[in-house]
C-alpha cells in the first residue's frame, strides 16, 4: 500500500512537471487593475524586459502570477483602478512586436496567429445569478500617428475587431461591422463608424475546463478555432476595410463587471504569437 502511495505521488509530481508551461513574455506588456506606485492615477503596466522578472514583482503578484501547482499564468481581476478608455478592469497582456514599444504593430495583410490554451476556473455571479463576463482574447486596432492626426484625435485608439468572451461557460466571439458599408477613409478611422455584430457562441461548452483557442488573420480574413475542431470565419467588406488599421493581440482577463465584490480568474497554460 505504501509503495502504491509513493507511485501515486511520483506520478502526480511528474505530471505536474510535464504540464508546467513557461509562456514566453518577451513580446508582451502586462496591465493590472492596481495603481502605479509612482503615478497613482494610472494603472500599473510592466513591459519587456522587466516583465520577464514578474515573479519578483510584489505589485504584480496579486493579479499576475505563476500557479505553483500547474505552472500556469494566472490573471486575477476585480473592479478597482480602471485603465483609460475603459469602464472595466483588466489583468491583461498586450502584444509588443518590438519589446517595450506600442507603436510597432501589424496589419491584416502582414497577418498574425495567436494560439492559447487556457481556462476560466472561477468567476462571480451578479445579484440574480448571472455569471460576470470576461474577455479572454482580443485583436485591437490602433491608429498610426498619421491616421490620428488626419482625423484630429488626441490618442491612437481604434476599436477591437475581435473580442472573445467567456460567457457562462461558453466561448462567445464578437467582431465589428461597418455601420455604413460604403464608408471610406477617413470616416472608417473613426471609432463611431464601427458597430458590434450579434456575436456567436461555439457549440462546444468549455465550462471551467481547459480549452485551446487559435486566431488566424490574413488579408481579408479572420478565423477563430476552438479546440482544433470548430472554426468561425469572418470575411467580406468589413474585414477588407479593417485592412486600413494596424493591430495587436491581447490575452488575459478583461473583467466585464463593476459590481462590488466581483472577481474572476483566468489561467493561461500556453500562449504563442507568430507573424
Amino acid at each position: 500500500m505504501i509503495r502504491k502511495f509513493t507511485y501515486i505521488i511520483i506520478f502526480t509530481l511528474l505530471s505536474v512537471d510535464l504540464c508546467a508551461q513557461t509562456i514566453d513574455l518577451k513580446n508582451w506588456k502586462i496591465t493590472i487593475p492596481a495603481s502605479r506606485p509612482d503615478n497613482p492615477g494610472k494603472p500599473m503596466e510592466v513591459s519587456p524586459p522587466e516583465i520577464l522578472d514578474f515573479e519578483g514583482n510584489e505589485v504584480l503578484k496579486p493579479y499576475f502570477y505563476k500557479d505553483p501547482k500547474d505552472g500556469a499564468l494566472v490573471f486575477y481581476a476585480e473592479p478597482a483602478q480602471t485603465t483609460r478608455n475603459t469602464k472595466y478592469s483588466r489583468s491583461e497582456l498586450r502584444e509588443q512586436m518590438m519589446p517595450g514599444k506600442n507603436n510597432v504593430n501589424w496589419t491584416f495583410e502582414q497577418g498574425g496567429r495567436m494560439r492559447g490554451t487556457l481556462s476560466v476556473p472561477e468567476v462571480t455571479q451578479n445579484d440574480v445569478g448571472d455569471y460576470h463576463r470576461v474577455i479572454i482574447m482580443q485583436i485591437h486596432g490602433r491608429l498610426t500617428n498619421e491616421q490620428r492626426d488626419l482625423i484630429g484625435e488626441d490618442d491612437n485608439n481604434a476599436p477591437p475587431i475581435l473580442k472573445i468572451y467567456w460567457d457562462e461557460g461558453k466561448v462567445r466571439v464578437k467582431t465589428k461591422i461597418l455601420k455604413d458599408k460604403k464608408a471610406k477613409v477617413p470616416e472608417i478611422l473613426h471609432e463611431k463608424a464601427w458597430g458590434d455584430d450579434k456575436g456567436r457562441n461555439f457549440k462546444e461548452i468549455v465550462g471551467t475546463n481547459k480549452f485551446t483557442l487559435e486566431v488566424n488573420v490574413s488579408k481579408g480574413k479572420m478565423t477563430i478555432t476552438l479546440n482544433d475542431a470548430e472554426t468561425f470565419t469572418y470575411e467580406g467588406v468589413d474585414i477588407d476595410k479593417w485592412g486600413v488599421f494596424e493591430n495587436y493581440f491581447k490575452a488575459g482577463n478583461y473583467f466585464q463587471s463593476r459590481d462590488e465584490g466581483s472577481y474572476a480568474y483566468v489561467k493561461y497554460y500556453e500562449l504563442e504569437v507568430s507573424h
Binding site: 440574480v128 445569478g129 457562441n201 461548452i205
Partner: protein
C-alpha cells in the same frame, strides 16, 4: 497511512460529484428559469448543485435524490413571467433555443413526478402547470411572416388542478384556416379541457406525452391515453419544444408549490 489513503478514496466521489450528470435526466438539454428571474442552461445548469442562486428553487432531495422544483413569489424579481415560474425548457442543442423539432420529426416526453406541496386560497388549492408542448415559428417562418422575433404559442398544457390532471389544448377556430393565418394567435382557441379519471393528489405518478405526425397522445398514470388526432393537430406547422416543471398559477404572497421529479426524459426518433 492506510487510514489516510482510505479517507482520500472515500472523499473522491464527493469531490467529483458537483458536476456529475444526473442518471434520470439529461440536464444539458434543458434551460431553467426560476421565479427570481434566474436563468441557466448547459454548463451553468449542470453546475446547479454549487450555485447558491439555483438552490432556493432547484435542488436534489437529500433523502431520495429526486429533483425538487419549488415555486413561490419573490420580491424584486427580474422574471417576466405572468405567474411564478420554475420551469425547464427543452433545448435540443445545449444552450440554444433556436433548434426545435417539427411534428414530422416527433417528440416524446416521459416523466415520473409528485406534487408534494400546494398552497390554498379560500380553501381552494392553487394550480400549477407541470408540462407544456409549445409551438414556435422556425427561422424561415419568422422571416416569411415578417416578424422581428419568433412567435410562440402553447399547444398542450398539463396542469395539476384540484388534485387532478387537466389537459388544456389549442384548436383551430376554423378548421379551413390555411397558410400564414395558421401562425397567428387569433386562429387558435382553447379546446374544452379533459381530465384524468383518478385524482393524482400528492402521490407519485407517471406522465407520457408523445407527438408525431398529426397525433398527440397523453398518458397519465396507468390510465388509457387521451388522444388528439384531428385537423387542428395536422395543421400545426410550428416547431416545438417541451417544458417541464412547476409553473405556479398564482402571484399571491403565500402561494407555494413543490414538485419532485424522479425521472424526466425527452426522446426524438
Amino acid at each position: 497511512m492506510r487510514k489516510v489513503i482510505m479517507f482520500i478514496f472515500l472523499l473522491q466521489p464527493l469531490l467529483l460529484s458537483a458536476q456529475e450528470p444526473l442518471d434520470f435526466m439529461d440536464i444539458m438539454n434543458w434551460k431553467l428559469e426560476l421565479p427570481s428571474g434566474y436563468k441557466a442552461s448547459d454548463w451553468k445548469l449542470s453546475n446547479f448543485r454549487m450555485d447558491r442562486f439555483a438552490k432556493p428553487f432547484f435542488y436534489l432531495d437529500s433523502i431520495d435524490g429526486a429533483l425538487v422544483m419549488e415555486a413561490y413569489p419573490v420580491k424584486n424579481t427580474k422574471s417576466k413571467a405572468k405567474y411564478t415560474r420554475s420551469t425547464l425548457r427543452e433545448q435540443m442543442q445545449p444552450g440554444s433555443s433556436d433548434v426545435n423539432w417539427t411534428m414530422k420529426e416527433g417528440g416524446t416526453l416521459e416523466a415520473e413526478l409528485q406534487v408534494t406541496r400546494m398552497s390554498q386560497e379560500e380553501g381552494k388549492y392553487h394550480k400549477t402547470i407541470l408540462f407544456q408542448l409549445d409551438g414556435r415559428t422556425s427561422e424561415k417562418q419568422t422571416q416569411k411572416l415578417g416578424l422581428k422575433k419568433p412567435f410562440s404559442i402553447p399547444l398542450i398544457k398539463v396542469i395539476w388542478e384540484k388534485e387532478r390532471i387537466k389537459i388544456q389544448r389549442k384548436v383551430l377556430k376554423n378548421e379551413s384556416t390555411v397558410g400564414n393565418e395558421l401562425f397567428s394567435k387569433g386562429a387558435w382557441e382553447e379546446d374544452s379541457p379533459r381530465y384524468s379519471n383518478k385524482k393524482v393528489g400528492f402521490d407519485q405518478f407517471k406522465v407520457k406525452i408523445s407527438a408525431k405526425k398529426g397525433k398527440i397522445e397523453i398518458r397519465i398514470a396507468d390510465e388509457s391515453p387521451i388522444v388528439y388526432r384531428d385537423t387542428s393537430v395536422k395543421q400545426w406547422y410550428f416547431e416545438n419544444y417541451f417544458t417541464a416543471g412547476n409553473y405556479l398559477q398564482s402571484k399571491s404572497e403565500n402561494a407555494h408549490s413543490t414538485v419532485k421529479y424522479y425521472y424526466l426524459k425527452v426522446t426524438h426518433d
